[in-house]
């Protein structure tokens, strides 16, 4: 605060409050819709902005599937949430693991072709899934990995960002630690496991948040490699539910699913906020 300007402070709070309102409003509407019945949403336009009384029923139908009051079938979201969870965890942990190992190799060893390999990993930054969808799909289908967790996760697991971040961090680790480890008779893997990995835990936590969200929010890739309904992650399942017209959609169940799909990544961001912010800023350096 440079100087006192009460009017400006009030204005700041007003602008921020308005910003927060706009950011929260879609989610509030979603939550309210999930507590009403689908008839209420369709017949009573505009829908009321007070919570309805159908919350438990809506979430029960959304989670476990079954017949709605309309008589249409709804697929269970609980199994989709499980698919999303496994996918997101595998992608996050897998990315961190293979990036830790390769960053260790790049920083602590000298081997022929090292810069070629480094350059190859760097180039993958430029090849997001979106630009190579059909050929990657062909590879995955030739390997028989359609409708499997492997097909959902492995192609997304390589990460140039994480490798760079760990390499950057390893370069700041003092050389004396390596020497001390050597004098104590520790080999490279022992050093990696007992010194380097424990030191990297902050970066690991930061990357975990970002990669978990990345994995959870994947949409295009699951859309291609899963045709089996039991392998559909929730983000994709929700899109399937709105294929009908405005009036035919079970909006309350769709909105309950949206809330359920948002909760886990939002919880991860809010609970690990400190690491998340650090990780975002570091990862882009």
């Amino acid at each position: 605060m440079i100087e006192r300007r009460p009017a400006l402070t009030v204005l700041s709070h007003l602008v921020l409050a308005l910003g927060v309102l706009v950011v929260m409003f879609p989610v509030y509407v979603t939550f309210i819709a999930s507590t009403q019945t689908s008839q209420q949403i369709i017949t009573q336009v505009p829908m009321s902005l007070a919570p309805g009384s159908n919350m438990l029923e809506t979430y029960r139908v959304a989670l476990f599937g079954g017949e709605t009051t309309y008589g249409s079938k709804v697929p269970p979201v609980a199994s989709m949430l499980w698919v999303s969870f496994v996918t997101a965890m595998t992608i996050a942990i897998g990315k961190i693991a293979i990036s830790l190992l390769s960053a260790f190799a790049f920083v602590y060893f000298r081997f022929p072709g090292r810069s070629l390999c480094f350059w190859m990993i760097f180039v993958t930054l430029m090849l997001p899934v979106e630009v190579r969808i059909s050929p990657t799909y062909a590879v995955v289908s030739n390997l028989g990995m359609l409708n499997t967790y492997a097909g959902l996760t492995v192609p997304l697991i390589a990460s140039a960002t994480a490798t760079f971040l760990f390499r950057q961090f390893f370069l700041t680790v003092p050389d004396e630690l390596v020497e001390a480890a050597r004098i104590d008779g520790a080999g490279p893997m022992r050093f990696f496991k007992d010194v380097l990995v424990p030191l990297s835990m902050t970066s690991v936590a930061a990357l975990f948040v970002i990669q978990f969200i990345y994995g959870w929010n994947q949409y295009l890739w699951p859309l291609l490699v899963t045709t089996d309904e039991s392998m559909a992650p929730v983000v994709m399942g929700i899109k399937r539910m709105i294929s009908g017209g405005d009036a035919q959609n079970e909006w309350n169940v769709v909105m309950a699913t949206a809330i359920l799909a948002m909760l886990p990544p939002a919880a991860v961001v809010l609970l690990m906020q400190r690491w998340f912010v650090k990780g975002l800023v570091d990862a882009e350096k």
Partner: protein
Amino acid sequence: MAIEKRVRFRSWWLPWVLIAPQMAVILVFFFWPAGQAIYQSVLQQDAFGTSVEFVGLENFTRLYNDETYLASFKTTALFSVLVAASGLSIALLLAVMADRVVRGATVYKTLLIWPYAVAPAVAGVLWLFMFAPSVGIVSYALRAMGIEWNHLLNGNHAMTLIVMAAVWKQISYNFLFFLAGLQSIPKSLIEAAAIDGASPWHRFWTIVFPLLSPTTFFLLVINIVYAFFDTFAIVDAATQGGPGKDTAILVYKVYYDGFKALDLGGSASQSVVLMVIVIALTVVQFRYVEKKVQY
């Protein structure tokens, strides 16, 4: 790689084992498909895969002469300019305000950053619901104000809808970076200007905004990349490229032509064009990063 470790381990086999998983994944799922994309882009294949013919650059000239592709380019350009411009200005405004207030700053921050966690597809569904022509609450309000909202018929409405959903999701990211950028500006500069009698408005445009330009430029590139590639799910959930092809951005068209229309050669040559765009954007971004180090 300018910096090197002085102390190293010696082993001729261990480093290979260590990088093997990473290299295996990128060779099988990045380089092989990227090569395939380039290879397929010069072939013409029918939908059943029975006949393949080498056609050279014909797929590219076909693209160049394809009016829907050029239209998709224009749509994407318009979309990314709108997303980047509105996303950056709103986030900058909020960040400047959040940087000013002392009380409640962390609360505002917490409430503003979490949309980062929302999946683009879910964001698309949320906004779709609010703007659904017959049941949506916002479309009702718009109707009451005399605007007949229907993004299923009106291309401009559809574009507005996906821009709003995309900006909403990206604001938290921009906000965090702007806030970090603002907090790294030395307070002494601003204090000196204040003593010289410069008003807050004047100080912002002559000191803060120029010093923030590296952050702004970085975010501009990131936002364009985001609008080009990460918004597929928003488009697919909210408008499915419609009405007509009014919101069919490039990534959506690659998907549609390859998986719905089964024009593999055309889709692959579109992928190659997209790769060129990403590479150009990445080069721009990294040249800037090098400059920032000297900054």
